[in-house]
């Protein structure tokens, strides 16, 4: 068994695709229409295009419990997903320049440095650098 795909709920798939590719630097992998305006839409890391895919999942639009769950996570500032980066400070500076808002500035937590930003699609995302 392998980890091939992970999902992230997004309020708007097109906006999410823009954010995840143009700001975060991921690359679109699959884009398949699945009816009612929804898409099987995945992105991958630019440096690891054969690695695990991230599904930009439209569930909050069509499934009320998913919408409630996402909303409550967001209200608490809890990051649903985290990505690994070489330098948290470097990514923080780059993303702030692109207008991305952070709820947690670069913070050292023991042997890791973390920061949390708003993906504008209903989620907080954490970036992590191991020290």
């Amino acid at each position: 068994m392998r980890i091939r795909l992970l999902s992230i709920p997004v309020s708007n798939q097109e906006e999410a695709l823009n954010f995840y590719t143009k700001k975060l630097g991921f690359v679109k992998k699959l884009d398949i229409p699945v009816g009612e305006g929804n898409r099987w839409l995945t992105v991958v890391a630019n440096e690891e295009q054969d690695g695990p895919e991230l599904l930009l999942e439209p569930s909050p639009k069509d499934f009320e419990p998913a919408r409630v769950y996402q909303k409550e996570l967001y209200k608490s500032g809890l990051p649903y997903t985290q990505f690994s980066v070489e330098s948290v400070q470097g990514e923080y500076d780059r993303l702030v320049e692109l207008g991305v808002e952070f709820s947690l500035k670069p913070t050292v937590m023991g042997t890791a440095k973390i920061a949390v930003f708003d993906d504008t699609c209903g989620n907080y995302i954490q970036i992590v650098e191991m020290l």
Binding site: S76, G77, S103, L104, G110, T111, I114
Partner: protein
């Protein structure tokens, strides 16, 4: 942001920092050791050496590293060497050259660990790397 307006997660981060990461000396010791492994992964490394350079007893150091990083220094060293060997093979180095360049002493143990960690033998990985080019 004042504490009352702070989001739940940000408060939790502050709490975890205080409860779990207040011993800066221990943290500096394990961060220093991890950096040492990153910079000297191709050398002959062992716990006795780590203990000497960190001024901490071997078993205490082992426990500290595992506590903060979730794996032993040796496990981390193996992961590091396998990652580097993948990089070297992808750049065109032969399997044998990559094996010794990252600090393994025998092709047998390198191949076994490589397969265990990546799911494929180094030669299969090399074929795929060539195909990708």
């Amino acid at each position: 942001m004042t504490s009352s307006k702070m989001k739940l997660y940000n408060k939790e981060v502050e709490r975890i920092k205080k409860d779990n990461y207040s011993n800066q000396w221990q943290i500096d010791t394990v961060i220093g050791l991890r950096k040492y492994i990153q910079e000297h992964f191709e050398d002959e490394l062992n716990l006795s050496l780590f203990s000497r350079i960190s001024f901490v007893s071997k078993y205490h150091l082992l426990r500290l590293f595992k506590r903060y990083y979730g794996q032993t220094p040796k496990q981390y060293l193996i992961d590091m060497r396998i990652e580097k060997s993948k990089e070297y093979i992808s750049q065109g180095m032969s399997v044998t050259e990559a094996c010794y360049a990252v600090g393994f002493e025998s092709i047998g143990s390198f191949s076994t660990l490589f397969k265990k960690k990546t799911g494929s033998a180094p030669t299969e990985f090399q074929k795929r790397a060539i195909f990708k080019k």
